[in-house]
Amino acid sequence: MPVNPALTERDFPPVAPYLVGREKVREFARAVLATAPLHHDPEAARAAGFADVVAPPTFPIVVADATLAQLLAEPDAGIDFSRVVHGDQRFTYSRPVVAGDELTATLRVTSIKSLGGNSMITSETAMVDADGAHVVTSISTLVVRGEDA
């Protein structure tokens, strides 16, 4: 089954707000081998002008995970997860994510392309803070390998 091209016109509801915790930031930082004091020490973060520890640049993928799950769960999406490969990833920020942020993420499918039997599906997950201000957008391209690929 090919990826459903109508996904680009679909409105996905925002997922439940994600509260960024200090220990989660530290745990994620350890997992990506991030040792800078800003990620671990609230005093170092405050000295640099942040309210609390700063999340590593790729942390928003944890928040975006729930929106990608939303996409894969669409009954008519035509996306076989066992054939999905992560092709490209980008994060565009308005400001860094810090512990204490409550992020609300909303998914939009921006493009679906076919290339040599594979499908490429690009989605954007925009995350806003508790005041509704944009913090970061995660842009992912997933490659769904064709049956004979």
Partner: protein, 137 residues
């Protein structure tokens, strides 16, 4: 010292090697919530035709930026970061894998810089179009 003082296009600002083991992958799986078994089970990786257990692409993207974050040392922050996953990183159960990252200034303007990353295993690059923007704080 300000972030941009003395910086030149082409300058290598950071370089580091990251030894990965299966423990690294399990830790990333737990922290990120990505429990796809191709990142920790040899039998599953083999069954889907992979050359071995692979590092999560997002793990490689995650640590590849760290040499730049350390170089910034709170003088700036990463305001945009993108990569293309061009080649999987196979992590041997005994030997692991070593990913070497180099960060070079790609472009400069008044507010910050574009930094280009190369990430290699042996002679082969594993990320394509790996670029980030650093903005002065």
């Amino acid at each position: 010292m300000s972030l941009l003082d003395g910086l030149e296009v082409g300058q290598v600002v950071a370089e580091r090697s990251f030894p990965l083991t299966r423990d690294t992958l399990v830790r990333y799986a737990g922290a990120s919530g990505d429990f796809n078994p191709i990142h920790y089970r040899d039998d599953v990786a083999a069954a889907v035709g992979l050359p071995g257990v692979l590092a999560h692409g997002m793990l490689t993207m995650g640590f590849a930026v760290q040499p730049v974050v350390d170089w910034l040392d709170a003088r700036g922050w990463v305001s945009d970061y993108q990569v293309r996953f061009t080649r999987p990183v196979v992590v041997d159960p005994q030997l692991g894998a070593v990913v070497t990252v180099a960060a070079k200034v790609g472009a400069l303007d008044d507010a910050g810089a574009r930094i280009d990353l190369t990430a290699t295993v042996g002679e082969q690059t594993v990320l394509g179009k790996a670029q980030l923007r650093v903005t002065a704080l």
